[in-house]
């Protein structure tokens, strides 16, 4: 089937199998490999992207379901060479190590700050509970989001 999905502001028209997952559409068809796969049970959130502004796990959305929608991935944040405040916060506060959860975590944090520009620590932890990280123990991720909230938010 034919789908048209706008990704990071650019429309992409592709012929896809109905069963193709959105995460594979992004990674394999568009070579946007920042979005990762960490599990097979919708548990880890490494594949989190924004679908019409809402954080979704793209391993649990069919590309067909995203037909006509706008998708934002980690590659679409920030300006041509700039970083979004959330991306910058992760660098400033050492909110990443292996970097594998980072794109999904950044997208989830971006959605969180769009909804709640000045979250408490508990609200950040609750807001990111759909995203697993094996390296950081989360604390510096929390600090990264706090840094972003204080320096431009979800922009």
């Amino acid at each position: 089937m034919r789908v048209e999905i706008t990704v990071n502001g650019r429309p992409h028209e592709r012929e896809v199998e109905p069963r193709l997952l959105l995460v594979h559409f992004l990674r394999d068809l568009l070579s946007l490999t920042g979005t990762h796969v960490g599990c097979d049970t919708t548990s880890c959130g490494a594949c989190t992207v924004l679908l019409d502004g809402v954080a979704v796990k793209s391993c649990t959305v069919l590309a067909a379901q995203a037909d006509g929608c706008e998708v934002t991935t980690v590659e679409g944040l920030g300006g041509p060479d700039g970083l979004s405040p959330v991306q910058e916060g992760f660098r400033q506060c050492h909110g990443l190590q292996c970097g594998y959860c980072t794109p999904g975590m950044v997208m989830a944090a971006t959605a969180l700050l769009a909804e709640r520009p000045d979250p408490s620590e508990q609200e950040i932890r609750d807001g990111l509970k759909g995203n697993m990280c094996r390296c950081t123990g989360y604390q510096m991720i929390v600090e990264s989001v706090q840094w972003a909230a204080a320096n431009g938010g979800a922009r």
């Binding site: 199998e17 069963r19 193709l20 594979h24 990674r27 070579s31 946007l32 490999t33 920042g34 979005t35 990762h36 796969v37 960490g38 599990c39 097979d40 049970t41 548990s43 880890c44 490494a46 991935t73 980690v74 590659e75 920030g78 970083l83 991306q87 910058e88 992760f90 660098r91 400033q92 050492h94 990443l96 190590q97 292996c98 970097g99 594998y100 959860c101 980072t102 794109p103 950044v106 620590e121 950040i124 932890r125 609750d126 990111l128 509970k129 759909g130 995203n131 697993m132 990280c133 094996r134 390296c135 950081t136 123990g137 989360y138 604390q139 510096m140 991720i141 929390v142």
Partner: protein, 782 residues
């Protein structure tokens, strides 16, 4: 420019989604592999019919055990000098074992084709409980091994049995406890996989793979596949976490290589999460009987332990050859013990291979857990505060270097200082007072202490090798004419920040900015030989190599400086990042100036080559022994059994800290591991050998909600033998934190009179205790 906080160089690509992990690798004409796995834990293979899969229009090849037998590749050697089936030929020995490999034009078709393979099995009784593995009449798992009539793998012991036994006989107080360190899994967020590309024209094999030990993989592929080693290139790109799960070679890698050789095209294989949990290296699974002997006034005299080690169906445990139980015999811990003895017996069961993984430092997790539980139990027996009992028995600073009763030479330590700092940071006395108040109100609050000594940086080549490869590591440093440098190392980061910290070491030694140093790792064609990153060995071994190779370059620069300044090298001193004539800093030449001169027409003394390069192989004289004092505070809800980690104070001493920001991040991650292991992680099996924790639905990892804000402290006791005084640290928190959490929960449950509780302390399990039911210590077997 040198040691200290520095933002990471790696972050620029990772925060933009521009990392290159194995699954991001795309090659022209690339095909996709998928593995068919056994639904049975133990069954004879009657037949494998792949004809329907082969007829699938998108399928390019189906590889079975038969195919591999023809190539001599059906079995491969393991890191413990056992063998492991690549694809099963005779029978399957664990659920999830590799049976066939499909290569197709796209990953979805490869998975489709798995469904078309018809395997007929003849089920056999499974050996699931390690305690039953040696029973007479137990099914023999490894009947492929000649003369094998049982499931026994090895017996191994350390320490002085006679002295230990004598001390126990005379001891005023002894405590004994059976405890299980349950089977868990490192579960890196990126699973394992590989892209294999065999070029028939050049005969060169290139393998992209998230391996923690790329050079060792290359050598093993040469040995296994018979390909010449110079025609094998292993590229370990960005790795999405390893945690010990990516040290060994898995059957899927060999299948991808064979798939590429058979089809003449690159083949990618990426496992999914359940495959990762079911078939790659598990961690722990030690059944321990620990005993501790002491005087009535609380002086610990001896520790004795028997271990039954469940190694699964193939002994694939990754550890130095002479250490079948790893470094478990550091179990006398941080205490001044007169004698100690351990016996370890390894057995086969119908489970996946592994054992050493998940930041265990070669079984130090098990050792520290054992001793820290025993010390707490002894404190309870003696009616002493666990902090006080530890303080009385900790090794004193003047005892270092200290030779432990099992033969380890601890390099340095100031243990009382670290424990005092942790007690102060936690406000220990106030916590105990609060606990008494809460207890009076019927609330359950617990305080758990763990004091650990780690043993990391394997290791001295004389004692330590993996499959005959000594555990020394190389480093090469090249300074370009304009003073920018490239460092090539054999260790392999999986997120530990080597590209940043190793540049900092070079920067410190050469007086140039760390930003001017590019760190190359993970490509066997580009880097010197070495054994990779695990066992927290990067800083102790490769970090030392880096400092020493930089000093070698500095010495060469000194000769260049002498020629430039027309002075004798003996008259030069290194100060402020420059070589200058003693007493006249204005004459100094910076490394950048010297680098250009070294590449110029400057006349150098006879026998001195130009340029500014050096190479080194570093063979460590000893391990490094970082240590730490951890305090965990938990609240337990008696109604639900839910344990909440309210606070966690961690004081770590890893000697000199190259980059404190990165050290803190390493500790945070390890503490989360400890909370996960203590409270929620277990890979359980039913009596038929079905894996009950084979996805993230059941194998639970802590999220931001289960982790508290960590409270860190540090002391600095440098390693005297290390060139920059640094010790490893990456695994310390994973090693040290589980006993702190368990000690805290047992402490909280004090009113219920329990002495010990096995991990994981799930709500269901804690609730049983509160209800007056026995604590389940047999989680592995329902």
């Amino acid at each position: 420019m040198s040691f200290g906080r520095m933002h990471r160089k790696e972050d620029a690509r990772f925060i933009r989604g521009r990392g290159t992990y194995t699954d991001d690798v795309r090659l022209p004409g690339m095909l996709y592999g998928a593995v068919l796995r056994s639904p049975h834990a133990h069954a004879r293979i009657v037949s494998v019919d792949a004809s329907a899969a082969e007829a699938h229009p998108k399928v390019k090849a189906v590889i079975t055990g038969r195919t591999l037998e023809g190539l001599g590749l059906a079995w491969m050697p393991t890191l413990s000098r056992d063998t492991q089936a690549v694809l099963a030929t005779d029978k399957v020995r664990f659920q999830g074992q590799e049976v066939a490999f499909v290569v197709a034009e796209d990953p979805y078709s490869a998975r489709d084709a798995l469904e078309l393979i018809d395997v007929e099995y003849d089920p056999l009784d499974a050996v699931v409980d390690a305690r039953r593995a040696l029973d007479p009449g137990a099914p023999v798992i490894r009947d492929d091994l000649e003369g094998r009539t049982g499931n026994h793998i090895f017996d191994w012991e350390a320490g002085d049995r006679a002295r230990t036994d004598a001390l126990f006989e005379q001891a005023e107080v002894t405590v004994a406890q059976d405890m299980i360190y349950p089977r868990v899994h490192p579960a890196p967020l990126e699973t394992c996989g590989a892209v294999a590309d065999f070029d028939k024209v050049t005969g060169k094999l290139t393998v992209w793979c998230p391996t923690q030990a790329p050079h060792a993989h290359r050598t093993l592929y040469a040995m296994v596949a018979g390909l010449p080693e110079h025609k094998i290139r292993v590229i370990s790109p960005d790795i999405g976490g390893g945690f010990g799960g990516k040290v060994g070679i898995y059957p899927g890698y060999v299948c991808a290589i064979v798939g590429s050789i058979v089809t003449g095209r690159p083949v990618k294989w990426m496992e999914d999460r359940s495959e990762n949990l079911m078939s790659t290296a598990f961690a722990r699974d030690y059944h321990m009987r620990g005993e501790i002997a002491a005087t009535r006034d609380g002086r610990i005299q001896a520790i004795r332990v028997k271990v039954l080690a469940d190694h699964g169906a193939f002994n694939g445990t990754a550890q130095p050859t002479k250490f079948p139980a790893g470094f478990f015999h550091v179990f006398s811990g941080s205490y001044d013990v007169e004698a100690a003895h351990c016996e370890v017996t390894g057995v086969y069961t119908n489970k996946a291979p592994g054992g050493v993984a998940y930041a265990c430092s070669f079984r130090v997790t098990e050792a520290v857990y054992l001793v820290e539980r025993l010390v707490d139990m002894l404190a309870a027996e003696l009616g002493l505060d666990p902090a006080e009992l530890r303080m009385r028995n900790l090794l004193r600073p003047e005892q270092f270097p200290y030779v432990s009763p099992t033969g380890w030479e601890y390099d340095s330590g100031d243990y009382p200082k670290a424990l005092r700092l942790a007690l102060d940071l936690a406000g220990y006395d106030e916590l105990r007072a609060e606990q008494a108040d809460r207890r009076a109100r019927g609330e359950l609050m617990g305080i758990g202490i763990s004091f650990f000594t780690e043993a990391v940086g394997a290791g001295p080549r004389k004692h330590m090798d993996i499959l005959g490869l000594g555990m020394a590591d190389g480093a090469e440093l090249r300074v370009h004419p304009t003073g920018k440098a490239v460092l090539r190392v054999s260790c392999q980061s999986q997120g530990q920040g080597h590209e940043t910290t190793f540049a900092q070491i070079v920067g410190q030694e050469l007086g140039i900015p760390a930003d001017d140093v590019e760190v190359v790792h993970g490509d066997t064609d580009q880097t010197p030989f070495g054994l990779g990153t695990y066992g927290s060995r990067s800083t102790p071994v490769s970090g030392a190599a880096t400092a020493l190779v930089a000093r070698k370059v500095r010495d060469r620069a000194k000769i260049v400086a002498a020629a430039m300044l027309e002075a004798s090298p003996d008259d030069l001193e290194w100060a402020g990042g420059r070589w200058s004539v003693v007493g006249d800093p204005s004459t100094g030449k910076s490394l950048a100036e010297l680098a250009l001169a070294a590449h110029s027409d400057l006349e150098l003394p006879e026998g001195v080559e130009g340029h500014l390069d050096a190479a080194i192989v570093y063979n460590p004289p000893n391990l490094t022994y970082p240590f730490g004092a951890y305090i965990c505070v938990v609240d337990v809800d008696p109604g639900t059994g839910q344990v909440k980690v309210r606070r966690f104070v961690a004081v770590d001493d890893c000697g000199v800290r190259i980059n404190p920001m990165i050290v803190e991040g390493q500790i945070h991650g390890g503490l989360a591991d400890g909370v996960g292991m203590a409270l929620m992680q277990v890979m359980a099996f039913d009596e038929d050998g079905n894996h009950l924790g084979a996805s993230f639905m059941d194998y639970l990892l802590p999220t931001a909600v289960e982790c508290p804000s960590w409270e860190l402290g540090e002391t600095v006791t440098p390693s005297p033998a290390h060139p920059i005084g640094a010790k490893g640290v990456g695994e310390s928190a994973t090693v040290g934190s589980p006993p702190a959490v368990v000690n805290a929960v047992v402490d909280a449950l004090g009113p219920y009179g329990i002495r010990h509780a096995d991990m994981p302390l799930t709500p269901a399990n804690v609730w049983r205790v509160v209800q007056g039911r026995p604590f389940r210590t047999d989680l592995a077997i329902p």
